[in-house]
């Protein structure tokens, strides 16, 4: 693979932002209003992009400090492609229906990390077998600008999942900040066209490319989990019957569902009736979680009343069933489920424990 790499400065990145901002709604990382985390929100100006902060991510712990490099917060591009709540149809008495009509929207995800662009690739599959209208309206015109992850955090394992820390696919433009420079790569025809308008970019020097490769190699070492995914789906599924094992592995889980909410690929939803007095009902689609008690409940009973079974469902879905359903795993190794688990359950450790028969 020959990748053309261009060298520029932060001012070129700002220029790129402005070009995209003129034509599209730009979503990117900014510091939340309370200053406590990175959030993906609309950015009107390059200055709004988060900077000079660093996040500490550990099992059950997230802190934002002054610093150099941050990863991501709890939200992901999923929030925009598959909103947490979405009105589907309005129903009036007598069952007259008014569907909500969603227009095309041009969005740019700016400065997302490789794990999040990989998550979009997975969602492309999960939302396409029955083409999801809202997803499609945004996805068709979506522009993806990825910042390579030069310093993965403690909960990251993208290198093991094969999704990072350097982006390989599913992006328009990628950039890496190294030694005061910004190195740009093109990932699509569209990205190539956009980058051409940054006329001050130069061909990257041999030194630039060498330090890019070296930096990414170092980053890769930080983003590894102690397992490999080659036979993982099969090896995990072989343990499906070991009830005691799943009980042990899930013993700390409280079933809050945080992991599924922060997961950039979890796609489960339900639809409920929101009544507006006696006038109409809005049917609203909202994120659901396989950890909730009611998830597998039917009128006559519950197929997964126990938490260990729901934990197993989540883990095996992500790492086994998903492959059979969508020809890819359901995990990108972003580590959000580890960071945002209130009990600090580490999926990497859970996988090792399942493979090893439950012991730590």
């Amino acid at each position: 693979m020959i990748v053309e790499i261009k060298s520029g400065l932060e001012s070129d990145l700002e220029k790129l932002f402005k070009i995209l901002r003129e034509k599209t709604k730009v979503i990117g990382p900014r510091i939340s209003v309370d200053g406590n985390s990175i959030v993906y929100e609309e950015l009107n100006d390059y200055e709004e992009l988060a900077r000079d902060v660093e996040d500490l991510q550990e099992p059950g712990n997230y802190r934002l400090f002054k610093g150099k490099f941050f990863r991501h917060g709890f939200d992901s591009p999923k929030k925009y492609l598959f909103p947490p709540t979405l009105k589907i149809i309005r129903v009036y008495k007598g069952l007259r229906i008014e569907p909500y009509d969603y227009q095309n929207m041009e969005i740019t995800f700016f400065a997302i990390k490789p794990c999040d662009s990989a998550a979009i690739k997975i969602m492309d599959k999960t939302f396409s077998w029955n083409e999801d209208v809202y997803y499609k309206t945004i996805r068709e015109k979506l522009t993806i600008i990825v910042e390579n992850c030069i310093d993965p955090g403690k909960t990251c394992f993208c290198a093991t999942m094969g999704t990072g820390p350097r982006v390989k696919e599913n992006f328009d433009i990628a950039y890496t900040k190294i030694n005061g420079k910004v190195l740009f790569e093109v990932g699509s025809e569209k990205g190539g066209k956009i980058l051409k308008s940054l006329n001050e970019l130069r061909e990257a020097s041999v030194d630039d490319i060498t330090s890019l490769i070296k930096t990414m190699e170092e980053a890769e070492k930080k983003a590894k989990a102690p397992f490999n995914i080659e036979n993982l789906p099969k090896e995990l599924e072989e343990k499906i019957m070991s009830k005691d094992l799943w009980r042990k592995v899930s013993e700390k889980c409280v079933g809050c569902g945080n992991c599924t909410m922060v997961c950039p690929t979890c796609f489960c939803f339900d639809i409920y009736d929101e009544s507006h007095l006696d006038e109409y009902v809005d049917r609203i689609r909202y994120w659901d979680s396989c950890f909730t008690y009611r998830y597998a409940e039917v009128a006559g009973g519950n197929f997964r009343p126990d938490l260990w079974a729901r934990y197993r469902q989540w883990l095996l879905h992500k790492f086994s069933y998903w492959e059979k359903q969508f020809d890819t795993l359901g995990c990108v190794g972003c580590g959000r489920c580890i960071t945002w688990c209130p009990m600090g359950i580490d999926i990497r450790e859970s996988i090792i424990r399942v493979l090893g028969g439950g012991e730590k």
């Binding site: 589907i88 149809i89 129903v91 008495k93 007598g94 069952l95 229906i97 569907p99 909500y100 009509d101 969603y102 227009q103 939302f127 077998w129 029955n130 999801d132 209208v133 809202y134 499609k136 309206t137 499906i240 019957m241 009830k243 796609f267 489960c268 939803f269 339900d270 639809i271 409920y272 009736d273 009544s275 009902v281 049917r283 659901d288 396989c290 998830y295 597998a296 409940e297 039917v298 009128a299 006559g300 197929f303 997964r304 009343p305 126990d306 079974a309 197993r312 469902q313 095996l316 879905h317 086994s320 069933y321 059979k324 359903q325």
Partner: protein
């Protein structure tokens, strides 16, 4: 762009028949579009302000869709308040079908428990309509008590179908009950099946299906010719919402009817 998938059609409730104390059959005439569905498929019904539930199709006759519903949950309780000439929402049909095509030339063994007879009734009707296409038909049906027997008004009709055996049992008999007492699996050893030429279709509570399948295998019916219809929380009907998953399968889309040999590895897993 709009979500066409979730737009339900309106159906007029023509007739309601009370089958048992808590089971009702609703005959629905679509107010738009045609009557569609095959044996084994289901519709998702909608009640204003209550929400949706998946209900199997129990019959398609004279331009009407027949749904037999047990009043057990929040939405079915709202449905139970519906009167004749009221309107209900429905979308579908969803899911795959019983193997009625594959069963041509074979003997058919139907084993049903409780409300599980509802999705199998269209198979009985299919055999009645096209009697010469199939071999023998044996219908085994079990319910808790005589008062819980659904479609009792049609039993004589089932018995009159040529080359058909129909056996009923109840878990607990009552004074006037002269029939068999015992769970539905107790009927299996009593019937004579030709395992080489039989296709079995089973529907009922999961525990009943587990024991039934075991006994059918004992009768030497191969696992590929045993079909079960699974129940799960099916919310979207199109394999998108996730709720109905059993291992890698979405019951609403890959099922609800499964060849036992295909689902076996997951069916036997506790709390799958």
């Amino acid at each position: 762009m709009i979500y066409k998938e979730y737009i339900f059609k309106k159906g007029l409730i023509n007739k309601i028949i009370q089958e048992t104390q808590d089971v009702y059959t609703y005959y629905v005439t679509p107010m738009e579009g045609e009557v569609k569905g095959s044996p084994g498929q289901f519709n998702i019904l909608y009640v204003y302000g209550g929400g949706e539930i998946p209900i199997s199709i129990s019959g398609l006759e004279d331009g009407k869709i027949m749904h037999t519903i047990k009043i057990v949950g929040a939405v079915t309780r709202m449905i139970s308040k519906i009167k004749e000439n009221d309107i209900i929402g429905f979308r579908g049909p969803y899911g795959n079908t019983w193997p009625v095509k594959e069963a041509e030339g074979f003997d058919i063994l139907i084993v049903s428990g409780g409300i599980g007879i509802a999705p199998l009734r269209p198979v009985i009707m299919e055999v009645e309509r096209n009697r010469d296409r199939y071999g023998r038909m044996i219908i085994l049906y079990g319910a808790r008590t005589p008062r819980d027997l659904v479609y009792r008004r049609e039993f004589e009709r089932y018995k009159r179908i040529r080359n058909t055996e129909f056996h009923v049992t109840v878990d607990r008999g009552e004074e006037e009950w002269a029939g068999a007492v015992g769970v539905v699996t107790t009927l299996i050893p009593k019937v004579d099946v030709d395992p080489k030429n039989t296709i079995a279709m089973v529907c009922g509570p999961e525990i009943m299906m587990k024991f039934t399948v075991k006994d059918l295998i004992k009768k030497k019916i191969p696992e590929e010719r045993i079909y079960i219809s699974m129940e799960r929380r099916m919310r979207c009907g199109i394999g998108q919402c996730g709720h109905c998953q059993v291992g890698p399968y979405f019951v609403c889309k890959d099922g609800p009817v499964f060849q036992f040999s295909k689902i076996k590895g997951y069916f036997e897993v506790e709390q799958i």
